[in-house]
Amino acid sequence: MIDIFIILYSMTLIYFALAERVSKYVILLFIQGVLLFCVLFFSLYKIEIFDFIFILLETILVKAIILPWFMNKVRRQNQLKRENDTYIPVFYSIIIVVICLLVSFFLSSKLQDTQIHSKYFTVAFASVIFGIYFIIIHRNIFSHVVGYLIIENGIFLISLALGSKMPMMVNLAVLLDVLMGVLVLGIFVNRIGNTFESVEIGHLTQLKD
């Protein structure tokens, strides 16, 4: 069962590379949140019931509801362009996301460590690399936030890969950071939008005292 959700998760990465509309990113983030919730549901059933419910609630609330809702709100407020422009054509991005997946697959097949669940690790590592790539290729600061969230989802999966005892602590710490980060970035995006009437980061070079 977990395999299916992990496969679907890796497919969302491909769709992130393919999608060109900003609104699609938000939908994909929501889908990733739901998929992570499903993965958790089927992998963490051994831990205590209170922790289990807490982690599940936190995942579905924050990842699948609050963050996408907030991103959507920021998107609406700033009246972003529907089409997103990237530095690299989408065609190459798709090839690169496949290379990310392949590299992390072979890396985790080499890592014969009993402490690591390499199934999670494959997708998690690919997700982190792809998130960084996603930030590099986009001009728009909103997409940078999306890339940041992709990396966060990857880290979340890595915390699952490293054993079933610790994820709660790792997860909480990461989640708090990211939530604050996204909130700050949201305000930042709004400010840039108010000042320049566009959210392209190229405008930031014009700032003076």
Binding site: D3, I4, I7, S10, M11, I14, Y15, A17, L18, E20, P89, V90, F91, I94, I95, V97, V98, L101, L102, F105, S108, S109, T114, I116, H117, S118, K119, T122
Partner: protein, 306 residues
């Protein structure tokens, strides 16, 4: 009995375009045409003679026939449900795929042969898109081969559901990829719009602008057969092979009809891609096929991940 499955494939090939047309008419709120409307059109075309331009060579005359015959021969590699196909040997999927490619190749050079700049442009696009969609099909078949340890189409599909339930995971991904491959290979909606009237945005239609009468009919029939071929491949992933044959045959027909309706839906609700966005959309199919391949590697424990 092998002939029966070929008969079924041909029968559904005749029905698929009619049902697709009916679905599209229903969704658009028009009066539904008869299921046999495409067949009537073909009969009308058959009654006409073909007209050949004086600037064309024998390639132009021979290409539609090569197209039809290559597609018909590739049907012999397929079968319905648990039946054995007429031709089968190790690695036959390579011949199967390249038989389809030969037909396409001849259509491309016949379009170049007319010397029309429009047709050259269409041939160019068709060649690019078929090249891009080819890896997706091979990666899907390769992951099946990994999963079952066999290399002929018959054995691949007959041994697929035996080892574990994970075959359905591969089946879903493969059906998705094959459906979209069929749409690309037949130049249907997301890649090309068969209803378009502007030569600059056509792909397949612009290649057959000069063909008329008998030749045009043959080309249409070949593209119906191609839909039926891909439908048969998809049905192979779904049909349970332990059932008696008549139930399998009913399943087969139902699946083909559902496929026709799905195609009608996709064509009604999807807009055609911008021409420049087609390559990335098609390469996405290969990317999904690679994900399916990697998951097969994990599931079949060729590479052991804990």
């Amino acid at each position: 009995m092998e002939v029966l499955s070929i008969f079924l494939i041909l029968l559904t090939a005749l029905l698929i375009p009619g049902i697709t047309g009916m679905t599209k008419a229903k969704i658009a709120g028009r009066k539904m045409p008869s299921v046999f409307q495409p067949i009537k059109d073909i009969i009308r075309l058959f009654k006409k003679g073909a007209i050949y331009s004086t600037s064309t060579s024998f390639i132009y005359k021979v290409a539609p026939l090569v197209y039809l015959s290559s597609v018909s021969v590739s049907i012999l590699f397929l079968s319905v449900g648990s039946k054995i196909s007429l031709i089968s040997f190790h690695g036959d999927f390579l011949l199967f795929a390249y038989l389809l490619a030969i037909g396409k190749f001849f259509m491309i050079i016949s379009a170049m042969d007319t010397g029309s700049s429009f047709e050259g442009m269409g041939a160019n696009r068709e060649a690019l898109y078929s090249m891009l969609v080819e890896p997706a099909f091979f990666i899907i078949i390769a992951s099946l081969a990994l999963f079952t340890d066999y290399t002929s189409l018959n054995e691949l599909f007959s041994n697929m559901h035996i080892s574990s339930n994970f075959s359905y995971v591969i089946g879903i991904a493969a059906s998705y990829v094959l459906l979209n491959t069929a749409m690309t290979e037949n130049s249907r909606m997301p890649v090309d719009d068969p209803k378009t009237h502007l030569e600059l945005t056509m792909i397949h239609e612009v290649m057959i602008l000069d063909n008329s009468g008998f030749d045009l009919a043959i080309i249409h029939i070949s593209s119906w057969l191609k839909f039926s071929i891909y439908g048969t491949l998809i049905s192979k992933f779904i049909i349970v092979t332990t059932l008696p044959f008549y139930i399998q045959a009913v399943y087969f027909i139902i699946i083909q009809m559902i496929l026709a309706i799905v195609i009608g839906f996709l064509e009604s609700f999807r807009a055609r891609n911008k021409m420049e966005k087609n390559p990335q959309w098609i390469i996405m199919l290969s990317a999904i096929a690679i994900v399916a391949f990697l998951s097969t590697l994990i599931i079949s424990q060729k590479i052991i991940l804990n």
